[in-house]
C-alpha cells in the first residue's frame, strides 16, 4: 500500500472530531443561546425573601424588593430595597453591573440620609449574611465566564447540558462552577460552586420555573447549601412583574435617595 494512502486512512477516524465544535465552543454556544433567550424582557420588579439557616437550624429572615432594568450592550441595572431585618429597613443598594469592568455600586443609608459609593471588589462576599455571594446574584453576562461543555445528561427526568464555567472577572471566590442547564428552557437547574482551592463549596438548585411574558423563565425558589459550613439559604421569589415602565431615571442616585 502506498505510504500516502496509509496516512490518509489513519487520519479518517479523526475527521469528525476536527469538523465538530470543540467542548469550549459548544459550552459557549449554550451560554449564548441562554443569553439570547433571556433578552428583551425590559424591566422587572419582584419581592424576595431569604431564610438563612445555620448549622444548628436557627433561622433568620430577610425581606427585599428588587427592581431591574435590562441594558442593551451592558450588564443590567438594579435597585435593591431592604425591608427586613427592621434595623436596616429603608437601606437601598443601586448597582450598574458590567461584564468584565467592575460594577458601579451605591448604598443609601436612611438614618444618615447618606448615599455612599462603595467598592465592588467584594464579589465573593456574602449578601446580607446569607450563603449567596454578591457574584451569585449579579446579572449573568456571557463574557463573565469561559465555558466547557462536559456532557449531555438527565437530571430529575429532564434533559440537561452539563457545562463547566470559569469566572473571567476579577475577585471571584470560585475557581469553577458546574451548571446543569435544562435543554428545553435553557435555564440552570443546578449549580455547583468550587472554591479557589477547587474544593466543592456550595450547591444551588432552582425550583418551579414559570414563564413570564410567555418566554422569560424565572424560578419561584432557589436553595443554596454550603457544604463546608453546613449553613443554607432558601430564597423565594414572589410577585414578579415585567414591563412596569421603569427607565434609567428609576435607577439613578436621585431615585436611590427617595426609595423607601
Amino acid at each position: 500500500m502506498n505510504k500516502w494512502l496509509l496516512t490518509l486512512l489513519l487520519l479518517i477516524p479523526l475527521l469528525p472530531e476536527a469538523l465538530a465544535e470543540t467542548a469550549q465552543e459548544k459550552g459557549l454556544a449554550i451560554a449564548v443561546e441562554m443569553d439570547q433567550r433571556d433578552t428583551g424582557w425590559g424591566d422587572m420588579t419582584a419581592d424576595m425573601q431569604m431564610i438563612l439557616r445555620n448549622k444548628r437550624g436557627d433561622e433568620s429572615l430577610r425581606e427585599i424588593r428588587v427592581k431591574s432594568l435590562e441594558m442593551a450592550n451592558d450588564g443590567d441595572k438594579s435597585l435593591t430595597i431592604f425591608d427586613r431585618p427592621r434595623d436596616i429597613k429603608g437601606t437601598a443598594f443601586l448597582s450598574f453591573t458590567h461584564a468584565l469592568k467592575p460594577d458601579d455600586q451605591w448604598l443609601y443609608l436612611p438614618a444618615l440620609k447618606r448615599v455612599k459609593r462603595i467598592s465592588s471588589s467584594n464579589k465573593s462576599g456574602p449578601f446580607m449574611g446569607s450563603e449567596f455571594a454578591y457574584e451569585d446574584l449579579s446579572s449573568q453576562e456571557v463574557e463573565k465566564y469561559t465555558y466547557k461543555w462536559l456532557k449531555n445528561d438527565t437530571l430529575d427526568g429532564r434533559d440537561v447540558f452539563v457545562v463547566e464555567r470559569y469566572p473571567a472577572y476579577k475577585h471571584s471566590g470560585y475557581k469553577r462552577m458546574i451548571v446543569w442547564i435544562d435543554m428545553k428552557i435553557y435555564k440552570p437547574l443546578k449549580l455547583e460552586f468550587y472554591d479557589r482551592k477547587n474544593a466543592l463549596l456550595k450547591t444551588l438548585t432552582f425550583h418551579d420555573y414559570k414563564p413570564y411574558l410567555e418566554k422569560y423563565y424565572r424560578p419561584d425558589r432557589m436553595e443554596m447549601k454550603n457544604h463546608q459550613t453546613g449553613k443554607s439559604t432558601t430564597l423565594t421569589w414572589a410577585d414578579y412583574q415585567f414591563g412596569t415602565g421603569l427607565s434609567d431615571r428609576d435607577f439613578d442616585r436621585n431615585a436611590l435617595k427617595r426609595t423607601r
Binding site: I88, L112, K116, R117, S119, N122, S130, R249
Partner: protein, 394 residues
C-alpha cells in the same frame, strides 16, 4: 410639648385609615463615665431613652410621597438633652427631570468619615452626640433638576434652627454652659433670615463629585462670653451670615476609596479654608473568611489654625473598619484622631450587632487623651465614656 404630644396621638389614631406604614425604633442607652466630672453641676453615669417613629405613605405610582418622622429623647440628668424634634415632615413629588420636596427634612452632603465639612444644610443636634452626625430637621423647599450633566439641587431655607447644647448637668460640654436665651444674629431678620444653597453633583466613571455654595446663617455659632442680668458669666451663641463654597470628591478604584472634602468660608471673621482628605482601603475576605477589614487614613486641616473653634485644625485620623458579614451584621469601626501640634488624641469605637429581627445592640466608646488647655477638646478630658445602647426596631 403637650400640644405636640396630643397632635402626635391624634395622628396615630387617624393615619391607619389613610394607609401608609409606620416603622422606627425605641432605644435605651446607658453612658458610663469612669472619671469624675471636670466641672461643677456635672453628674456621673447616665440613662437615656429615645423614640423615632416614621410614617410613610406614597401614591401616584410612587411619584408622590409623604413622610413624617418625629423624634423624642428623655435624658436622666440633662434637661437640655431631653428634647423633641420633627426630623422629617415632607411632601415629595418626583417627575422625569425634576424632584420637588417641601417641608422639614435632613440632607447629607459629603464623603469623608472623620468629619463632615461640606454638610451644611441641617443644624447639628449636638446634645445627641459629639460626632455631629445627628441633625435637627430643617424646613426647606428643595427643587432638584436632573440633567445629563448631573443634578442641580436648589434650596430655599426659610427658618433657621439653633444648635442644641448640653445643659449644666450634662457631660461633654465646655466649662461655661451656652445660654440659648442670649442668642445673637448678624441678620436683623434673626432666625427668619431666608438662607439659600445650590449644589451640583454627578457621577462620572470612578468619580463622584459635588460642588456646592451656601449663603445664609452659619450653622456653626461663635461662642461669645457675656454677663447675664445677674452678672453671671455665660456663653452666647452668635450666628453670622456666611458664604461657603464646598467641594466633595470620591474616586472609587478597586478596593480603594479616595476621598476629599474642602470648604472656603467667608463672613465669620477672616475667611478661611478647611479640608479633610484621605483614603479607605478594604481587604475583602481576610484569612479566607467572609470578614472584610478596611483601613482608613484622613488628614484634617483648618487654616484658622489654633484660632479655629474646632479641635481639628492639623490632625490625623487613622482607623479600621471590621465587618464580619455574618447573619448578625457584626461591625466594628475604631480609630484615633491625633492632633499634630499638642499630641492630644481622641479614641473612638463604634460597634454593632443584630440580636434578632427587631433587636440590635450597639456599643460606642470615646476616650480623650493629652489635650493641652488651648485645645477645644481639652474640656472633654474627664468625659471618657462607654455607651451601651439596646434598640427595638419595628
Amino acid at each position: 410639648m403637650q400640644r405636640l404630644t396630643r397632635l402626635l396621638l391624634l395622628w396615630l389614631v387617624v393615619t391607619p385609615a389613610m394607609g401608609g406604614e409606620w416603622s422606627g425604633y425605641v432605644s435605651g442607652e446607658v453612658r458610663l463615665f469612669p472619671n469624675s466630672p471636670a466641672y461643677p453641676d456635672q453628674r456621673g453615669d447616665n440613662l437615656s431613652f429615645s423614640f423615632e417613629p416614621q410614617y410613610y405613605n406614597e401614591w401616584d405610582n410612587g411619584k408622590q410621597s409623604f413622610t413624617f418622622t418625629p423624634f423624642l429623647r428623655f435624658d436622666q440628668r440633662d434637661d437640655e438633652r431631653t428634647h423633641f424634634d420633627i426630623r422629617e415632615l415632607t411632601w415629595l413629588k418626583a417627575a422625569t427631570d425634576w424632584e420637588l420636596r417641601v417641608g422639614v427634612r435632613k440632607v447629607f452632603w459629603g464623603v469623608t468619615e472623620s468629619r463632615h465639612l461640606v454638610d451644611i444644610i441641617n443644624q447639628t443636634d449636638l446634645v445627641e452626640n459629639i460626632d455631629r452626625e445627628e441633625k435637627l430637621g430643617q424646613p426647606m423647599i428643595n427643587l432638584a433638576l436632573i440633567r445629563d450633566f448631573g443634578t442641580i439641587d436648589l434650596f430655599l431655607l426659610p427658618y433657621f434652627r439653633e444648635r442644641t447644647f448640653p445643659g449644666k448637668n450634662g457631660r461633654l460640654r465646655i466649662p461655661i454652659p451656652v445660654d440659648k436665651d442670649l442668642v445673637q444674629y448678624e441678620s436683623g431678620a434673626r432666625e427668619r433670615h431666608v438662607d439659600s444653597a445650590i449644589r451640583w453633583s454627578n457621577s462620572i466613571d470612578i468619580w463622584d463629585i459635588g460642588l456646592s455654595w451656601f449663603h445664609g446663617t452659619s450653622r456653626d455659632p461663635l461662642l461669645i462670653p457675656v454677663l447675664d442680668k445677674r452678672g453671671t458669666l455665660k456663653l452666647a451663641p452668635r450666628y453670622d451670615i456666611i458664604d461657603q463654597v464646598g467641594l466633595d470628591v470620591q474616586a472609587t478604584q478597586g478596593s480603594w476609596l479616595w476621598k476629599l472634602e474642602m470648604i472656603r468660608r467667608g463672613g465669620q471673621g477672616k475667611s478661611f479654608t478647611a479640608f479633610t482628605g484621605g483614603f479607605e482601603y478594604t481587604f475583602y475576605g481576610i484569612q479566607d473568611s467572609s470578614a472584610d477589614l478596611g483601613v482608613l487614613l484622613e488628614y484634617l486641616y483648618d487654616s484658622r489654625d489654633d484660632a479655629a473653634p474646632t479641635p481639628f485644625e492639623d490632625d490625623v485620623f487613622a482607623g479600621m473598619r471590621l465587618a464580619l458579614n455574618d447573619a448578625q451584621s457584626t461591625e466594628v469601626l475604631a480609630g484615633f484622631i491625633i492632633d499634630r501640634n499638642d499630641g492630644g488624641a481622641t479614641f473612638n469605637l463604634e460597634a454593632s450587632r443584630r440580636l434578632s429581627d427587631n433587636w440590635k445592640l450597639e456599643v460606642e466608646a470615646r476616650f480623650f487623651n493629652g489635650y493641652e488647655r488651648t485645645d477645644p477638646a481639652y474640656t472633654f478630658r474627664k468625659d471618657d465614656y462607654v455607651e451601651v445602647k439596646l434598640s427595638y426596631h419595628f
